[in-house]
Assembly symmetry: C2
Homo-oligomer: 387 residues x 2
């Protein structure tokens, strides 16, 4: 039977990520292709205790329908943490709970983008964002990202010429590059954006190896920045809980879209998560997690420096879960992906992160999900593939 | 600051339901306005035990990222139940887990509707669907729903004249009317649809008072019916788990949209729910739930017959959670709503269920969430308002 799909689906092939992850998860394959937090860093016992106490004390309420905005004590916790950690003047009424920050990508695009609307992305840009935004048929404009941040002149040009609906960026440990905007870059971005909205995706800001928070662009442009966050990388992804922190004029529309999308996020898990946060030490937990990721990242960087051909370069992350490597001239990341899977190691080819083509030599490597031994073995295999 | 929202948001006022429910939930107000299952019918103890065992045995996996399609054993359970209960030839690969069936409304609209596309709704139609579809800017066509089902001649006319993308209907205990399509109506709908897609929303098919399943339109038009279901009304809404059962050609696109929307549904709760279903007797649970709803419904119908002015009529549901009453000529449901809240009883005014206007005398009454005593007291208050 012929189904008459919407035009937007023509530009959406079955997700590249989905197909790749299926291959990467074959038994025996060491995968640096995914984006999983370390399973060892999920506090199963703490969350189990929180769940047991929610069921015992308020199970009946937690299992019912709830409000679209999300569980108020959880939003209060998020606002309080913004105030203390980042000096933001956050109020719970400016925070909406969503199903992981991926849902922010969908709903922000939904409330802002008409077909053909201009949007600015980093180059390379986050694939999940490209996939979510694409379904609203915008025109993408890219601004190159280097080790300091997005090119401010390029950003200024795009803003002037196209009046984009928003600039989507990940200032902290960007996905896929692992880069962090410098303080000067943040100021420059805020400056050149003028009246343009900033969509600041902060999935990794709690995962800096030095434990120091970086100043969010939200602090520089409070009325025009949408700041998204997630518990997936710092507590557990399986509960799918993230949030958007945005000016109330935006949040009201976002709430309307959220209600139409799925009424509200999982209420049971919002309660479990809040109970967990209220009874455990998130900072201590994050010190353990980042210590491990830092060690893994260092091992990976050292191996890339020592065991690979000189033409191979890589970024040096300050935090997060990813780095980006550039293959020696003449090599192609899709071929390395295919050959790697045969050799038992999976990397993520970079070209889908480049909206208008390019990135054929780029690969993204995840260092959070693997053990030290897996990193050593996996990079050994990868170096054989590349040599 | 002026935000440049997408055109679709112009047609989406802050949700009517949201504002109404806020008023309805004032202390002291007996609310028939909502759509909550009875809290007494949620098996908190059983779900707590299921959660404890998932945490103990596979917490680490349940708290990680998972696949977009959903937990396979849960999809197998759903397919098996379709085969046994409804004689459908269902395969788990045709089922996608979502965040409650509201998410089906959003994602089906997303994959099928371009701006201006024709869609057919029942009149009155489900408000959640109207709100979800509206954000994709379709043109709505209505087909009157009477006690047998949708008017087949009107449906045939709309199909012929407008070639709609799909017909959205709730054949079992429709929301808001409480009506159930007759067997003849189902056959007629399947007949006149021709090649048009059927979107069959079956949130209430497990809640017939007589316990007998009705033949779904999916069985008559297997290749062109999207059948959505939900655990919200039969187990617990707070976990936000529903599904779409659709031909694989549709499901592949639906999966792409789901991945872009939020990667996957809450994996922890999918596992908890499956564990609960595998270790409890859902049929026995549903017998208890429907016995209670049947009793409540009968009390409500009797009171409407006995205590209200003769000009007042109402539907007589065979199941589900709602009935629809029509106020005596000259009365207005918004005025009754306002006066009712002052008197301590909330009803849902019917006019938002009528896309192209009308329904001023209609009110929707929920009979699942209240106790017998609340129904008696609440309808007493309502009768005073109306007299």
């Amino acid at each position: 039977m012929d189904y008459r799909f919407a035009a937007r689906m023509q530009s959406a092939p079955p997700s590249f990520l989905g197909r790749l992850f299926a291959v990467s998860n074959r038994p025996g394959v060491i995968s640096f292709a995914g984006g999983l937090p370390s399973a060892d860093c999920i506090d199963v016992r703490g969350l189990a205790a929180a769940a047991a106490s929610v069921f015992a004390e308020e199970g009946r309420v937690a299992l019912q329908y709830s409000t679209t905005d999300g569980y108020l004590p959880l939003r209060e916790y998020i606002a309080e943490r913004y105030r203390k950690r980042l000096g933001l003047d956050a109020d719970p009424s400016e925070i909406q709970i969503v199903n992981g920050s991926q849902q922010c990508l969908d709903l922000v695009a939904k409330i802002f983008l008409d077909r053909g609307d201009p949007v600015v992305m980093e180059r390379p840009g986050y694939l999940g964002a490209i996939e979510a935004f694409s379904l609203y048929e915008p025109v993408f404009h890219e601004v190159p990202l280097d080790e300091h941040g997005p090119d401010p002149d390029a950003l200024a040009r795009v803003v002037r010429e196209f009046e984009p609906k928003f600039f989507y960026g990940i200032p902290n440990s960007q996905n896929p590059s692992g880069r962090t905007y410098s303080p000067e870059s943040r100021a420059a971005v805020a400056e050149v954006l003028g009246e343009t909205l900033m969509y600041e995706d902060d999935a990794f800001g709690e995962l800096f190896f030095d434990g120091r928070p970086r100043v969010p662009i939200k602090r520089l442009l409070p009325d025009q920045t949408l700041l998204s966050g997630s518990f997936s990388k710092i507590v557990a992804p399986g509960m799918r809980i993230g949030w958007l922190y945005a000016p109330s004029g935006v949040l009201a529309r976002f709430n309307t879209a959220k209600q139409a999308a799925d009424l509200h996020s999982n209420f049971l898990c919002q309660k479990v998560l809040h109970r967990y946060l209220a009874t455990s030490d998130l900072d201590e937990h994050l010190r353990r997690v980042t210590a491990r990721y830092h060690r893994n990242c260092r091992i990976m960087c050292d191996l890339l420096d020592d065991r690979f051909p000189p033409g191979m370069t890589h970024t040096v992350p300050e935090g997060g879960m990813f780095l980006m490597a550039t293959l020696p001239p003449g090599m192609d990341s899709m071929e390395v992906f295919e050959a790697g899977v045969r050799e038992g190691v999976a990397v993520l080819p970079g070209h889908p992160f480049y909206v208008s083509g390019g990135g054929e030599r780029a690969i993204r490597l995840n260092f959070s999900a693997s053990s030290e031994e897996e990193i050593k073995e996996g990079l050994g295999r990868l170096s054989r593939v590349i040599r």
